[in-house]
């Protein structure tokens, strides 16, 4: 069969061409992030200037961060890691580090010192919560609400559980994290006892029971951009999301939405370098650049998150396009941080698998 042979040759030739075509001469770095306004702020502050300065590097954004832990475990299990840098919250970074899926870094060797020469380990300070974690921002998870659709203005986070005061759908993250804290807080647990109660027998049941009171009014989100979209479309009257997303929605897109600063959960977000990356040298170079004092301060021009370096804080100035002062929009601003929950990374690193299992089972029930 001459035809078959010719076809086979054509197929193999063409297929290898297709593959060669996709792996061009330049180095491609796949950077995993959270999508929407957050990816855009990184693109503006880090990726675009870096690519301009280094023509041989192409940075590709993959918005898979919400599934990053699961996907990294899967990649590791099957032995093929296709990512070079992964955005992760602190507790996930700790888990990935424990599991050997993230590479440890040496802050003083791998990260740039502050302009005044302070070594990176001092400049980041306590925020280096794990030996694999490269902190970028301080953010908080809080609630936004439609000013034109709520029956009365929410004043406390517990209004989320009050269907009489605020009827209508609300969106919550499809994770036990944060929701359990709020549920227990609003069930009468003292703020400093929340993790004790959650870790005790019956603690999870108590949190789930409280969440159960609003279960049929909740739309569960998995990606940070969903709540802003749901609020803009009027699908929900209020919803939890990261404060920077709400900032974009309110200040940039001018939607009739306001922010509730009450018992928001403080957390850290940063990068980890996945074990098995093919471009370790290139990615380390990029990380060194992207986490220097200027770059971290630059990101705050595009989204209202606090930079993780002490030396970046004084450089936070005005929004790049709107020209408004960013400081009052930072989660760290004293006016916004009257009562905040201090997130217990270690507790969640230890318990996340257990609690997620129970949360998912609860969710799947009617």
């Amino acid at each position: 069969m001459k035809l078959t042979r010719n076809l086979a040759v054509a197929v193999i030739g063409a297929a290898s061409f297709a593959v060669a075509g996709s792996a061009a001469a330049e180095t491609e770095l796949v950077v995993v992030s959270w999508g929407g306004a957050y990816s855009a702020s990184q693109q503006n502050a880090y990726h675009a200037p870096y690519m301009k300065a280094n023509p041989g590097i192409k940075i590709i954004n993959d918005d898979s961060a919400p599934e990053a832990v699961a996907k990294l475990r899967a990649m590791n299990e099957v032995g093929k890691v296709t990512w070079d840098l992964v955005d992760a919250v602190a507790s996930d970074a700790m888990r990935l580090c424990d599991e050997g899926l993230a590479l440890p870094i040496d802050a003083d060797k791998d990260l740039a010192p502050a302009p005044d020469g302070t070594p990176a380990s001092k400049d980041f300070g306590d925020l280096l919560v794990s030996e694999c974690f490269i902190p970028q921002i301080v953010y908080s998870t809080t609630f936004g609400y439609r000013t034109d659709k709520v029956k009365s203005k929410p004043t406390s986070v517990c209004d989320v559980f009050d269907l009489k005061k605020i009827p209508g759908k609300r969106s919550l993250e499809k994770k036990p994290i944060n929701n359990f804290e709020w549920a227990l807080l609003c069930d009468g647990v003292a703020p400093d006892k929340i993790y004790d109660v959650m870790g005790s027998d019956g603690g999870v049941d108590r949190a789930l029971k409280k969440l159960g009171t609003i279960k049929d009014q909740v739309i569960w989100w998995t990606k940070g951009a969903q709540t802003p979209q749901l609020l803009a479309d009027g699908e929900v009257v209020m919803g939890s999301t990261y404060n920077g997303r709400l900032f974009s929605l309110i200040e940039e897109e001018k939607q009739p939405v306001a922010m509730l600063w009450d018992w928001q959960v403080f957390d850290l977000d940063g990068w980890i370098i996945p074990k098995g990356t093919k471009n370790l040298e290139a990615v380390k170079k990029f990380v060194r650049y992207a986490t220097d004092t200027q770059r971290l301060a630059d990101q705050a021009k595009f989204i209202s998150y606090g930079p993780a370096r002490k030396s970046s804080a004084p450089m936070v100035s005005k929004h790049a396009k709107l020209g408004i002062d960013m400081k009052p929009h930072m989660p760290t601003d004293p006016n916004n941080a009257k009562n905040t929950l201090l997130f217990n990374y270690e507790f969640w690193a230890d318990n996340q698998d257990d609690f997620t299992e129970r949360f998912e089972a609860w969710l799947a029930k009617k």
Partner: protein, 387 residues
């Protein structure tokens, strides 16, 4: 043999991967791989006495955990056992951090001090239960059951039962969708069959166009139609049927999934029905009527029986496709309109309980294969036609 190349191709790209995945539903070597020393000793431990294992077992466990921590594999055994007994993941995680400091025995009090669960016989029983290389645990979990530590197989408590309900829901929604496609598909197939070829070919385009259009386009269209600020809700508000503040929820629930999937699967019902109806001579009904039968009776007694092979083919095809659907329920089903496939995907990419995903997959595949054989009996695979 001209069939050979394709046969081998399908074997390697399709059958072996699926078989390989399904094998995960019983495979269970992780516990002995990561805890080799302690599981060896535990095998001889008599769990019926309700006494904790000996110091030697504790010492072996500490050694296993230390090594697992160094190799960074210890959390995996915790994850595995956590599927069976919640709490095992945090037990291994937090113990791993603390065993670092355990330099010498006695290890029993040290380990119990590190985490109180080590002092409970149940913890050790769970580990012992999962020493064998093969397990029925995933299949039991897939039907909402578990094996008690004493070996009895029991149903889970009511609040933990998920999968049986989900299988029923999948079957129920698939049946509803099949019925709806039949109710909607039968009249138009009949109309196309009785019209002259020219007009019926024109109408056929209306069926084929959605058939050829991307599944995601059609799902997107339904989102645009059904959402709160969507076309249908706006229309309802505009004509004053509902107030703007109490728009009905038509998407992210069962209703949305049923409507969108009925639309998407309707061509799969119409096409086989039409191809069967085309072959039934119109003259039969006319003859019956001219012999004095009421037109309805003529239709029921003469025409309808001829369409049954088409109904059977269409119904089974739609049902098979519906039961395995993933994309549309994922996008428009919310929490009440999800199918078993969504749960399988969840266990593959989020919870990483691959054994359970495989077990659920085996059951789903079993149902589909049974229906496939039925289809073969009714229609014959050779007679499958497209478009």
């Amino acid at each position: 043999m001209l069939v050979g190349p394709l046969f081998l191709f399908i074997l390697f790209t399709f059958f072996i991967p699926i078989g390989d995945m399904l094998f995960r539903s019983v495979e269970n070597s992780i516990v002995t791989d990561i805890l080799p020393r302690s599981t060896k000793l535990l095998a001889d431990w008599d769990s019926t006495t309700n006494e904790l294992p000996s110091e030697a077992v504790f010492a072996a466990m500490v050694a296993d955990i230390k090594e697992g921590r160094k190799a960074r594999t210890i959390t995996r055994v915790g994850q595995r056992l956590n599927y069976e007994a919640p709490g095992m993941s945090s037990l291994f995680r937090s113990s791993a951090r603390k065993t670092k400091r355990m330099k010498e025995g006695p290890y029993k009090p040290a380990l119990i001090k590190a985490h109180k669960r080590w002092g409970k016989v149940e913890t050790w029983k769970v580990i012992k239960q999962f020493i064998p290389k093969y397990t029925a645990g995933y299949f039991l979990a897939a039907v909402d059951a578990k094996q008690e530590l004493n070996g009895d197989i029991v149903r889970l408590g009511d609040e933990k039962r998920i999968y049986i309900d989900l299988f029923w829901r999948t079957l129920r929604l698939s049946l509803i969708i099949t019925a709806l496609t039949l109710i909607l598909g039968f009249p138009i197939a009949y109309l196309m069959a009785i019209l002259p070829t020219k007009s019926s070919n024109l109408l056929l385009i209306f069926v084929l166009l959605p058939f050829w259009t991307s599944l995601l386009v059609r799902t997107t269209a339904w989102i645009a139609l059904l959402q709160q600020q969507g076309v249908i809700n706006e229309l309802l508000v505009f004509v004053g049927l509902v107030g703007t503040d109490n728009r009905p929820q038509m998407i992210h629930n069962e209703f949305g999934a049923i409507v969108a999937m009925t639309h998407i699967l309707l061509p799969f019902m119409v096409l086989p029905l039409f191809s069967v109806m085309k072959t039934i001579p119109k003259s039969y009904v006319r003859a019956a009527v001219s012999l004095g039968a009421h037109p309805w009776a003529a239709f029921w007694k003469v025409y309808f029986p001829g369409t049954i092979p088409g109904i059977g083919a269409g119904a089974i095809l739609v049902f098979i496709l519906a039961i395995g659907y993933y994309i549309t329920p994922e996008l428009v089903g919310g929490t009440t309109g999800t199918f078993i496939s969504n749960r399988i995907a969840h266990h593959i990419s989020s919870s990483l309980n691959w054994g359970l995903a495989a077990a659920l997959g085996v059951i789903l595949l079993g149902i589909v294969v049974a229906l496939y054989l039925l289809y073969d009996k009714i229609v014959g695979i050779d007679n499958m036609k497209l478009g």
